[in-house]
C-alpha cells in the first residue's frame, strides 16, 4: 500500500506542477530533499541515542518487564498475542506515557525499540503482525494530554487563553484513538487470529 501511494504522490506532484506553473518549486524540491532528510535524521539522532541508552538500562535491569507485568491487565486485552512479561509491553507503556505528556521526540525511541521487540516474536519477518498494527494505531491515535507545541504557538500569537483548547484536544484525540482501536479490534476478530 505504501508502495503504491509513494509513487502516486510523486507522479501527481510532478504532473500537476506542469499545469500549475510550479515546476520551479518541484525542481528545487528534488535538489534539496536529500539535505532535508539528512537534517531531520540529525535532529532525531541525539534523542534517539540518549533514550535508546536509557531504555537499554531499563531493559537489562528488568524494569521493562516489571512495567509490563504491572500493566498487563490492560495491555493483554490490546495485545493478546504478546507474552505477559515481554519487554515490548513495557516499551509500549513508556511510549504511550511519554506521548501523553506531549514529548513526542522522547517517545519515538521507545516506539522504535518496541517494534524491534515485536519483530522478534513475529513469524513472517516482512509482514506486519497484528500486535504491531495495534501498537501503530495506539501510537498514531496519539493520545496527547498536554499539546506543548500548540500551546506555545498560541502564546506566541498572543492568545488570551492559550490552554482553552486542551479539553477539545483531549476529547478529540481520545475519540480518534478509541475509534482506531475498535476498528483494529473488529478486523482482528474477523481475521480470527488474535
Amino acid at each position: 500500500m505504501v508502495n503504491v501511494i509513494w509513487g502516486v504522490f510523486i507522479i501527481i506532484g510532478i504532473i500537476f506542477s506542469f499545469f500549475n506553473g510550479k515546476v520551479d518549486l518541484i525542481n528545487n524540491e528534488i535538489i534539496v530533499s536529500g539535505k532535508n532528510a539528512v537534517n531531520l535524521m540529525l535532529e532525531m539522532l541525539p534523542m534517539l541515542a540518549l533514550w535508546m541508552g536509557l531504555m537499554r538500562i531499563a531493559e537489562d535491569s528488568g524494569l521493562l518487564k516489571f512495567v509490563a507485568r504491572k500493566l498487563s491487565f490492560v495491555l493483554n486485552k490490546l495485545f493478546p498475542s504478546v507474552p505477559k512479561d515481554n519487554e515490548a509491553l513495557g516499551l509500549i507503556a513508556s511510549n504511550v506515557a511519554i506521548n501523553m505528556a506531549g514529548l513526542g521526540s522522547a517517545a519515538t525511541p521507545c516506539g522504535l525499540k518496541a517494534m524491534k521487540e515485536l519483530q522478534k516474536i513475529n513469524d513472517k519477518k516482512d509482514t506486519a503482525s497484528t500486535a504491531m498494527i495495534t501498537f501503530l494505531v495506539l501510537n498514531t491515535g496519539g493520545v496527547t494530554i498536554i499539546p506543548t507545541t500548540i500551546i506555545s504557538l498560541r502564546v506566541l500569537h498572543g492568545s488570551a487563553a492559550p490552554t482553552e483548547v486542551i479539553p477539545t484536544c483531549i476529547l478529540a484525540t481520545f475519540s480518534s484513538c478509541i475509534a482506531g482501536l475498535l476498528l483494529d479490534y473488529f478486523i482482528r476478530r474477523k481475521n480470527g487470529n488474535s
Binding site: M55, R56, T144, I146, I150, H157, S176, A179
Partner: protein, 173 residues
C-alpha cells in the same frame, strides 16, 4: 498541567537509574550499548525518512492539495471557514511540519482565539502524522507488507478531524 510535562522526563530517568542500581547490573555498560543501538537505528531509518520527505514534499509543493480544497470553498464560506482548515486536515496525516505551518498561518490571519484558530489547534492536537510514523516504525524493522495498518490509522485521523469540528462548536459556540 504544564508542570507535569516538565517533571515527567527527569522522573523517568531517575527511576531507570535507581532501578538499574538495585538490580545490580552494570548500568554504564548497558547505557553505552543502547546508545550504539540508537545510532544504528538512526541510520537504518534514514532511507524511509528520505523516501517520505521526497514524495510528500513533491505533492505539497505542486499545490495539488490546495487545488482540491478550493472546490469546497463555497460550502465553507457559509460557515465562516476558509479553505486553509481543509488543507490542514489533508496535510495532517502526511506532514507534521506542513500542517504546523498552516496552523501558524491561520493564527496570523484569524488569531488563535477565533473559530479557525481553535479548530486548527484541536485538529493539530488530536491527530498524528500517520504516514510518517508508519513508514518510520515499519521501515526500521524491514516490514514490507503493512496489511490493514494504513486504512485503520487514517480512519482514526478522520474520526479525530470530524470530532474536532463537533467539539469546537459544542464547547465554544
Amino acid at each position: 498541567m504544564a508542570t507535569v510535562s516538565i517533571v515527567i522526563l527527569p522522573i523517568i530517568v531517575l527511576i531507570i537509574v535507581i532501578y538499574g542500581y538495585k538490580s545490580k547490573i552494570n548500568i554504564y555498560d548497558s547505557f553505552l550499548k543502547g546508545v550504539l543501538e540508537g545510532l544504528k537505528t538512526c541510520v537504518s531509518i534514514f532511507p524511509n525518512i528520505l523516501a517520505m520527505i521526497f514524495a510528500v514534499n513533491l505533492l505539497i509543493k505542486s499545490g495539488f492539495i490546495d487545488y482540491i480544497s478550493s472546490f469546497l470553498n463555497p460550502a465553507l464560506s457559509r460557515y465562516n471557514l476558509s479553505t486553509d482548515i481543509i488543507s490542514m486536515a489533508f496535510f495532517r496525516p502526511i506532514s507534521g511540519n506542513a500542517s504546523l505551518a498552516i496552523m501558524d498561518n491561520i493564527f496570523s490571519n484569524f488569531g488563535p482565539d477565533s473559530l479557525m484558530g481553535r479548530l486548527a489547534s484541536t485538529i493539530q492536537g488530536s491527530t498524528d502524522t500517520t504516514f510518517y510514523v508508519l513508514a518510520l516504525y515499519f521501515g526500521s524493522i524491514g516490514i514490507k507488507k503493512t496489511r490493514y495498518a494504513l486504512p485503520v490509522g487514517l480512519f482514526a485521523d478522520f474520526v479525530g478531524i470530524v470530532m474536532s469540528f463537533l467539539l469546537v462548536y459544542l464547547f465554544f459556540y
